[in-house]
């Protein structure tokens, strides 16, 4: 029985370092190759030794697919391709291909230049790694090889994020990292995959509408500013930053606010350029108006200079430390400072240095674009998967969602290094000769009748990799075989005091009454034919009442022939005219 195996090397019952191995139809695919923000040791990267203990990555993997540019999904890529060693294709969308190397370089700088770690990937390795990337377009069906095909769908979440449909023969898997909250725009075919692999970061939350959250966020910002405080919003430079910028920009415009908004220089500025050039990858509303006004050209939002930090008066900053009020607009992975302060920790140990007292107000707002329970359920309705597999979530929270989903079908949540095996039951594609198919269609009448199924008979020829279904006659011809006729002739003794023609007629009448729905003919040459079975009568020379019936049929009429000979052996009923 064919099966699909899914093994998380990272993100199995955990958040961070997404890396999932899928074996389907003899192909091995790695989905994402991320790093863990909460660790600084080996646990930072997925455990590739799971594969390398048996050989090289390139030999094992058919392709690697990166869903989006967040480091917990692509942060281990140069490590995997250049340090562990992988030379096969890596697929990602255009925006991801553009932005991914910048984030990787940023990550490398922090790790190597600031923290002074060695044994880490270099800038050159990032470049070499990106050379192995094949860009993906939305809805393009990419033939990785003759059998394996992948197709990317718009996922919302962040710029260039994609859901992927992976198909080998009639088996398929859908991998969705993160679902847009504008679920309507993140659409997928009713592709009925065998497994839907989904993130479950917000498994327990069913969040209120986006609009409410936005209003809340703006209210909190506004209150803080009114109090004369400063607001710090630690946020990824790409993705949510732009979303919040648009939100704040319009709010400032409407409320006529004067407090400056800054974003930390470097990445964010560059990021805004990417959003401008890849505007077709954002949502409908933004792209429709882009000719009149590009949403990513901000009036109130400026780049930040370090000297501004101690300026008196209210201000709003993205990605900066030590201010009056901090709003965490997204999920914080365990082990990070964000996670600690959100959990109420008031003393932070700074790396190697003194502790830091946290005095500012901490607010948490789920603005992250990760999927929540509602989004996942919506996706299930669209794609109609047969099984569900959850990754990238905390075990406890996953259980909750699993419970919800299992009311409908199987749900798996393997831990790292653990394999979930799903048996599939694919149908077998076969080429049927059109004449055979049309013959069957014609038999059934113009409209199919569900109560009277149309039965089709044919011969399946299996040659090399081809499966052809043809009529038996055609099969003989195609294979260059002679037909072998098998015939039976059966003598049946019968006492019947009539002349031979009369006996024959009596047989004809008898069979007519017994066999309904068969073609029975009384032919002028002194035979009766039932379908293609021939019946003849002769009488013996001594006793004209002792008749000998000769029944002759071919093997194709075996059932009927056998039945007739048994029937006639019993004699003819009296009272036949």
């Amino acid at each position: 029985m064919p099966e699909i195996n899914v093994t998380p090397l990272g993100a199995g019952q955990d958040v961070g370092r997404s890396c999932i191995l899928v074996s389907i139809g003899g192909k091995n695919i790695m989905l994402d190759c991320g790093m863990h923000m909460g660790y600084n040791d080996d646990r930072r990267f997925p455990d590739f030794s799971y594969i390398t203990q048996n050989g090289r990555l390139t030999d094992f993997l058919d392709c690697v697919i990166i869903s989006h540019f967040h480091l917990d999904h692509c942060g281990a890529l140069p490590y995997m391709s250049e340090m562990v060693g992988y030379d096969g294709p890596i697929y990602m969308t255009h925006p991801t291909k553009a932005i991914c190397p910048i984030l990787l370089e940023d990550f490398r700088k922090i790790t190597v230049d600031k923290k002074g770690e060695t044994n880490f990937f270099t800038s050159q390795m990032i470049k070499d790694c990106m050379k192995k990337v094949v860009p993906l377009n939305l809805h393009q069906t990419v033939q990785v090889d003759d059998e394996l095909e992948i197709k990317a769908y718009y996922a919302g979440h962040v710029l260039g994020a994609a859901m992927v449909h992976i198909k080998v023969g009639s088996e398929s898997v859908v991998y969705t990292v993160s679902r847009n909250k504008h679920a309507a725009t993140a659409w997928i075919d009713k592709c009925r995959p065998d497994i839907l692999i989904s993130e479950s970061t917000y498994a327990t939350t069913i969040r209120d509408s986006k609009r409410c959250r936005e209003r809340d966020f703006l209210k909190k910002v506004h209150e803080s500013i009114e109090r004369g405080g400063k607001v710090l919003i630690p946020v990824f430079a790409l993705g949510r930053a732009q979303e919040l910028c648009i939100l704040l920009e319009t709010f400032w415009e409407r409320m006529n606010l004067k407090a400056p908004i800054y974003f930390s220089t470097g990445l964010t500025e560059k990021a805004n350029h990417y959003y401008k050039l890849f505007i077709t990858w954002t949502n409908q509303k933004i792209r429709k108006t882009f000719v009149q006004r590009n949403m990513f050209e901000f009036k109130h939002i400026k780049a930040f200079d370090r000297s501004y930090a101690d300026n008196p008066g209210p201000m709003l900053i993205g990605k900066f430390k030590r201010q009056c009020s901090v709003i965490m607009p997204g999920y914080c992975v365990q082990g990070t400072i964000g996670h600690k302060i959100l959990n109420g920790q008031r003393k932070l140990e700074m790396e190697g240095r003194a502790t830091l007292d946290v005095k500012l107000q901490v607010e948490y707002m789920s603005f992250s674009a990760h999927a929540d329970a509602k989004g996942i359920m919506q996706l299930i309705r669209m794609a109609e998967p047969r099984n569900m597999l959850l990754v990238h979530g905390e075990a406890v929270k996953m259980e909750f969602l699993k419970g919800k989903i299992e009311q409908e079908f199987n749900c798996y949540m393997p831990a790292n290094g653990e394999t979930a095996t799903i048996t599939t039951n694919p149908s077998v594609p076969v080429d049927i000769s059109l004449s055979l198919l049309k013959r069957e269609m014609a038999l059934g009448g113009s409209l199919p009748d569900p109560k009277k199924p149309r039965t089709m008979h044919g011969t399946l020829i299996m040659k090399e990799n081809s499966l052809k279904l043809v009529s038996s006659e055609q099969a003989l011809k195609e294979l260059g075989l002679n037909e072998h006729q098998l015939r039976f002739t059966c003598r049946v003794q019968l006492q019947d005091p009539h002349s031979d023609p009369d006996t024959l007629h009596r047989i004809y009448t008898h069979l007519k009454s017994v066999l309904k729905g068969y073609t029975i003919q009384h032919l002028p040459d002194g035979t009766v034919m039932v379908e293609s079975i021939v019946i003849k009568v002769s009488s013996s020379a001594e006793d004209s009442n002792a008749k000998v019936l000769l029944l002759s049929w071919s093997y194709q009429d075996e059932d009927l022939g056998s039945f007739l000979s048994t029937l006639l052996k019993k004699g003819l009923p009296s009272g036949l005219c």
Binding site: K97, D431, M462, K468, E473, Q485, F488
Partner: protein
């Protein structure tokens, strides 16, 4: 499978393919060359055009003063310009299931087809094709509606009258089908029926066929289409290019193994080399500017203009044209320039890499930023106050019959310092200039057509090897003006099937196979047997389920068990219900082995008699004859059913069942 050809214009095709119960329209080209028969639509009152004498036939019997005007020795229709539509009578357009668009130039007739014909299908196009196509339509509508013309000339179309008119009006064909431009409302309605597709996306149509666009290298988002089922493949090649300009390179390999390849949209300028033309364009431009004249470039608002601007970007400094203003005037100029920058994934590799930096892919962004290139929606408004001469103006429409270009013709035509440079290949430049004669301004003809030429296409066809090629008849003979150039036509074996407007072609291939799916339960129950090395067969009896043009085979449901009843002993009397017919047999029964088998089953007294075709075995104890021949076995026995079935099964052991 049939092909209905609704347009005779080889580069603005409109064909309908009927394939496996689907009706697919391939492109929706609008032949705009008809507008050359009309007077230009001036943006501001033109005393010259308004004082033209009306036309009266020489003998004075036909007076069409109001409709026809004599201008520069030619007769023009004084009416809103009209377009020559694809044929609408050849088949019922409401039966069309889908329309596949290959590039934005080949969709201009869309509103005529999708509106007011009962069309209820879907249009498939790539995103750049849709967006830029919308801009081009919007531009034409805007050009027409800006200068409304009350009168609509129809009398001249009367067959009797048209016959009497001077050429080229006399020779214009199908003038009754010519139509005025559509409205913006019709454009919006037509475009709302478009569904976006990406390259290599597989789109299922009713489960019967699959269509898929491939990059064709000609313009932003331009595509060729593959229309295929599991066993048949039709390739539709329209406007393709192998030159390295801005679009993504052409995908050639996916065209391989086609049963039929429909070839349209080859270059209209087979003898003009685009690179050479580009060089000539630049040098003429520089020469005119240096002499203090203005340059007018009549062009479409998207397409080659991007390449022209890129070429100028490199050329400006070296030719010391740094201070010369370049103007791009069109109602959609801004949108076209902006849109070109956001389709990174549809661009060639070089331009894609720029976006990764991130930088705009086209250098015209820099030309705009440095104020070298300015764009305006029309000559009215800001342009009139900011305009400086000498300058270079890019504006439409290339037919010189409507749009802002008409104004510049009137303005600059009288001075020999100025130059008009034609770059678009769609119109004959002499015909385009006809109503403006006599002209003092210089005319330079540098048509840039990047589509495939005959040399490239024969190489391509050799590579992809389609079984049959269908093409417009124009491609099967050399051009009229160069009848000795046998290299300017398609020569193929077998020869291509030519079509013209209103042709209906029967495409030469027969469908033999169809894909069905055997459900796992049935598949598991099959018993294959090896007939020859590597070839196995299995007999299949199944129920066919057909839904949405997909067929599946399921196991035959078992008949419900007969309820035990008193009548049980009569069951034997019921005639057999044949669920499964017996398979066909093949092979031969070897005598020696068969005898041995008989012996094993206790049949020992066998008399063997040799005949012409084989042997007759007489089973003496049983009084039974078995006739063994190469291609047949005949068992003749008394009514001894157990014996007969035993013998039957013994014979079957030696035979293969199919």
């Amino acid at each position: 499978m049939k092909l209905y050809c609704l347009s005779g214009h080889p580069t603005l095709p409109c064909n309908v393919l009927k394939f496996k119960s689907t009706t697919i329209m391939l492109d929706c080209g609008l032949d705009t060359t008809s507008v050359l028969n009309f007077l230009p639509l001036p943006l501001v009152h033109s005393p010259r055009l308004s004082k033209l004498p009306g036309w009266v036939s020489k003998d004075g019997t036909i007076n069409l003063e109001k409709e026809l005007k004599d201008c520069a020795g030619r007769v023009f229709v004084d009416s809103q310009p009209e377009f020559c539509l694809p044929e609408r009578e050849l088949l019922d357009l409401s039966t069309i299931d889908v329309i596949l668009i290959s590039n934005y130039h080949c969709m201009m007739a869309l509103p005529y087809i999708t509106e007011h014909t009962g069309f209820t299908g879907t249009v498939y196009a790539t995103e750049p094709t849709l967006q830029i196509g919308r801009l081009l339509m919007e531009e034409v509508v805007n050009f027409m509606e800006r200068v409304p013309k009350a009168q609509s000339a129809t009398c001249w179309k009367n067959k009797e009258i048209q016959r009497m008119l001077p050429g080229p009006l006399k020779d214009a064909v199908d003038v009754w089908t010519w139509k005025r431009c559509y409205s913006m409302q019709e454009v919006n309605s037509a475009l709302s029926k478009v569904q976006l597709v990406g390259y290599s996306q597989k789109v299922e149509l009713f489960g019967a066929v699959q269509v898929s666009p491939l990059s064709s290298g000609y313009s932003l988002g331009s595509s060729n289409w593959i229309i295929q089922s599991h066993h048949e493949k039709v390739s539709y090649v329209s406007g393709s290019s192998l030159l390295t300009t801005h679009p993504q390179p052409m995908d050639q390999s996916s065209l391989k193994n086609s049963d039929v390849l429909i070839l349209t949209g080859l270059t209209q300028m087979p003898t003009a080399n685009p690179d050479g033309m580009l060089g000539e364009f630049c040098s003429n431009l520089a020469m005119t500017i240096r002499a203090g004249g203005n340059v007018l470039v009549p062009c479409y608002s998207s397409g080659v203009i991007y390449d022209l601007l890129e070429c100028l970007y490199q050329f400006i400094e070296s030719a010391s044209l740094g201070t010369t203003p370049f103007y791009f005037i069109s109602p959609v100029a801004n949108s076209s320039l902006e849109f070109s920058q956001i389709f990174a994934e549809w661009l060639c590799h070089n331009k894609q890499t720029k976006v990764y930096l991130p930088e705009p892919p086209f250098p015209h962004a820099e030309l705009i930023q440095t104020n070298k290139l300015k764009h305006y929606p029309s000559i009215h408004g800001d342009f009139s106050s900011e305009f400086r001469q000498p300058c270079v103006v890019f504006t439409g429409h290339p037919s010189l019959r409507f749009g802002d270009v008409v104004h510049f013709m009137e303005l600059w035509g009288k001075s020999s310092l100025n130059t008009i440079i034609f770059t678009e290949p769609d119109f004959s430049y002499l015909d385009a200039l006809a109503p403006y004669q006599p002209l003092a301004m210089k005319c330079v003809y540098c048509p840039i057509d990047t589509r495939l030429n005959f040399h490239q296409v024969s190489k391509l066809l050799k590579e992809v090897q389609p079984l049959h090629v269908v093409c417009p008849e124009q491609y099967t003979q050399p051009p009229l003006t160069q009848s000795h150039r046998s290299d300017l036509m398609l020569e193929l074996q077998p020869p291509p099937m030519p079509y013209r407007r209103c042709s209906v072609l029967n495409l030469p291939f027969r469908r033999r196979y169809e894909r069905v799916y055997i459900l796992p339960e049935l598949a598991n129950s099959l018993v294959p047997s090896e007939i020859k090395p590597g070839v196995s067969v299995a007999t299949v009896s199944a129920v066919v389920h057909s839904k949405d043009n997909k067929h599946t085979l399921q196991s035959v449901p078992k008949p419900p068990p007969v309820a035990p009843s008193k009548k049980r002993k009569r069951v034997m009397d019921e005639p057999p219900v044949v669920m499964t017919p017996k398979p066909l047999l093949s092979g031969a029964v070897p005598l020696e082995a068969f005898l041995a088998t008989l012996q094993k089953h206790g049949i020992t007294e066998v008399k063997v008699e040799e005949t012409a075709d084989g042997h007759i075995l007489h089973l003496q104890a049983e009084d039974t004859l078995i006739q063994l021949e190469e291609d047949g076995t005949h068992i003749v026995c008394d009514n001894n059913e157990p014996l007969r079935t035993t013998l039957r099964d013994l014979v079957l052991r030696f035979l293969q069942k199919l």
